[in-house]
């Protein structure tokens, strides 16, 4: 019986439900892109729409040429994301490795030390006071990198993967006289690329999207990451005028197109993610399934 060819009402109905929800997920993205390309007049007169009536790149020109704030913020976000992700893979990788080494009798003591951090939390206020008063992280770029760096959940994901690597491999490397550092960097880490890459992608996404740490610790404007700048811009477009390139901005557009500029900065902020999404999506799905098997 050619089942697949048969027209089915229930299949059609399900496809419509799923299709509508998918479109709803896509819709805001299209609206923002369209808004960023629209003229201010069209937005004020007709509201946001799916397709721009008159296409203009003015907002992008103002953001990228007229204001160095945006470029600065972009650089900050890129530094935080790359440095944070690289450190996170090395630090959590090594932590997971130590907890995975069966020959080390006290590995479980270390595991408990890590697990406790998942259970107890001092809360926001003590954490903030420690970071600001004792660790002097206020207005430091490290404030956006270090606090979430060591992560118990990620470390256990890595440990579980490394425990599935045959113990003989560790032992034979040991007998060959390799140091633990060498075994980790040359043997185990390359074998653990699947889990390290997955953790790395989640961590990178977290750093790129983070604005909480910036909100808590960064008051200095030139250190603010992109996400925070977007938030500032939404509540007040005028601050762009205070940047040093006000003259250049004036040349591009006499009046700042406030609505479309918000949309343009949104597009710039989510650009890298949306661009990379098709390539990395399946790794995220895989990572989630690994996490689901043993959280």
């Amino acid at each position: 019986m050619p089942l697949a060819k048969k027209f089915s009402w229930s299949q059609t109905a399900l496809m419509i439900i799923v299709g509508l929800f998918s479109l709803a997920c896509l819709f805001p993205f299209l609206m923002v892109i369209s808004g960023s390309l629209s003229t201010e007049k069209d937005i004020v007169n007709y509201g946001y729409s799916l397709l721009p009536r008159n296409v203009t790149f003015d907002s992008y020109r103002i953001l990228l040429l007229g204001s160095n704030r945006i470029v600065d913020a972009y650089v900050i976000s890129i530094i935080v994301t790359t440095v944070g992700t690289a450190l996170s893979i090395v630090v959590n990788g090594m932590g997971g490795y130590v907890m995975a080494r069966r020959s080390f009798r006290y590995r479980n003591v270390l595991s408990v030390y890590v697990i406790i951090t998942m259970l107890f939390s001092g809360g926001l206020v003590p954490w903030y006071i420690i970071c600001v008063r004792y660790l002097d992280l206020k207005d430091s770029i490290w404030a956006m990198i270090l606090p979430p760096l060591a992560n118990a959940f990620n470390m256990f994901l890595i440990r579980n993967f490394m425990q599935s690597i045959p113990e003989d491999l560790y032992e034979s490397a040991k007998i060959d006289g390799a140091s633990e550092y060498r075994i980790f960097f040359r043997l185990i880490a390359p074998l653990s690329v699947p889990v390290l890459a997955t953790v790395g992608l989640f961590v990178a996404l977290g750093y790129w999207n983070d604005w909480f740490l910036g909100l808590m610790f960064i008051d200095k404007q030139e250190l603010q990451p992109l996400q925070l700048l977007l938030r500032a811009l939404i509540s007040n477009v005028e601050f762009l005028k205070s940047s040093s390139n006000a003259a250049a901005m004036q040349r591009i557009a006499p009046a700042i197109p406030s609505e479309s500029i918000k949309m343009a900065l949104t597009v710039i902020t989510i650009g890298p993610i949306v661009f990379l999404y098709p390539f990395v999506q399946r790794y995220f799905v895989k990572g989630l399934m690994v996490g689901a098997v043993k959280g």
Binding site: V18, C25, I43, L119, L230, I270
Partner: protein, 308 residues
């Protein structure tokens, strides 16, 4: 003799200890040290004197008395628990439902494309979701208000109408997280042995009956465990969501002010560290008990699903 063995074991594995040092240090600084700050609500905290240098509060529970006598704190606790309960219930319905629907679809390409589209919102920050929401809801040129006007209705001032916000937050959360939440359920569904369904259909079971008597029971452990773990976190609101969506719009606070936003405001805006730390203290203690209890329950149902 035993002490000697411990020392020897440690010296023998000194390289491993060195490799663990970064993790140990970071966790100590950012997780263990703040635990000492749990005494802050009992202190008359002075930034220049530090956590231990500050004087004890007199009377000791003054900050808690002050906190619990304020309507704002009561409102924040109520909002946190009620909104989280709403989020958990609606989330469960959407995620399981969507996974079941996707699982029924026969067209592979359609399934793959729609799954990609619904997963996409997970990747953007709440700040951006806040912008999207603003685009849809703002009074002057928001898409929804334009649409309402086009239909001949009056525009709604969403940003001063607190009653609508539980619904708005639920919709935004579902928009962002349904695709993500579905993945785990879908994984559980695809791992179900096909022979169950074959046997059922030979016995004349309809698709609906197969869902009711095979798929759902097979999902049960996953559903229970994910829900329990979510209940364990019911006192902790997603600060990112609330702050990005609502921010400082105080007309919306009656329905949207949660413990986390209250603590943040007291700490960073009004500088009321006593109140902020007392609220945070209560939250930490209750959260700790709830996490232990829910994890214990999860472990009883399925040993492997507990966090620890």
């Amino acid at each position: 003799m035993k002490r000697h063995g411990v020392l020897r074991e440690l010296i023998q594995n000194r390289q491993l200890l060195v490799m663990f040092l970064p993790v140990a240090t970071l966790l100590f600084l950012f997780c263990y040290l703040p635990l000492s700050g749990l005494i802050i609500p009992f202190k008359d905290f002075d930034f220049s004197k530090g956590i231990f240098g500050s004087d004890w509060m007199d009377p000791l529970f003054n900050n808690f008395d002050y906190l619990l006598s304020s309507d704002v704190a009561y409102r924040a606790i109520r909002n946190t628990v009620l909104l989280n309960a709403l989020f958990i219930a609606v989330g469960l319905l959407f995620e399981v439902g969507f996974a079941l629907v996707l699982n029924e679809l026969r067209n592979k390409y359609f399934k793959r494309i729609t799954q990609s589209l619904t997963f996409l919102p997970f990747f953007i920050s709440w700040i951006v979701v806040g912008v999207f929401t603003y685009n849809l809801l703002n009074y002057d040129n928001g898409a929804i208000n334009r649409f309402l006007e086009w239909l001949g209705f009056e525009a709604v001032d969403f940003y001063s109408n607190a009653g609508l916000w539980p619904a708005i937050l639920v919709i935004a959360l579902r928009w962002k997280m349904t695709g993500y939440g579905t993945i785990i359920y879908l994984a559980a569904l695809t791992s179900i042995d096909h022979s169950y369904y074959e046997a059922a259909s030979i016995d004349g079971a309809s698709r609906w009956q197969q869902i009711r008597y095979i798929s759902l029971p097979m999902l049960r452990p996953t559903i229970i465990i994910l829900t329990l773990l979510a209940i364990g976190r019911i006192m902790n609101a997603d600060f990112g969501m609330f702050y990005a969506m609502v921010g400082d719009a105080s007309p919306l606070f009656p329905t949207t002010d949660v413990i986390d936003t209250l603590v943040y405001r007291s700490l960073r805006k009004s500088g009321d560290i006593g109140m902020a730390s007392a609220a945070g203290f209560l939250q930490s203690v209750i959260a700790f008990v709830l996490v232990l209890a829910s994890n214990h329950a999860a472990r009883k149902i399925d040993r492997d699903s507990a966090i620890f």
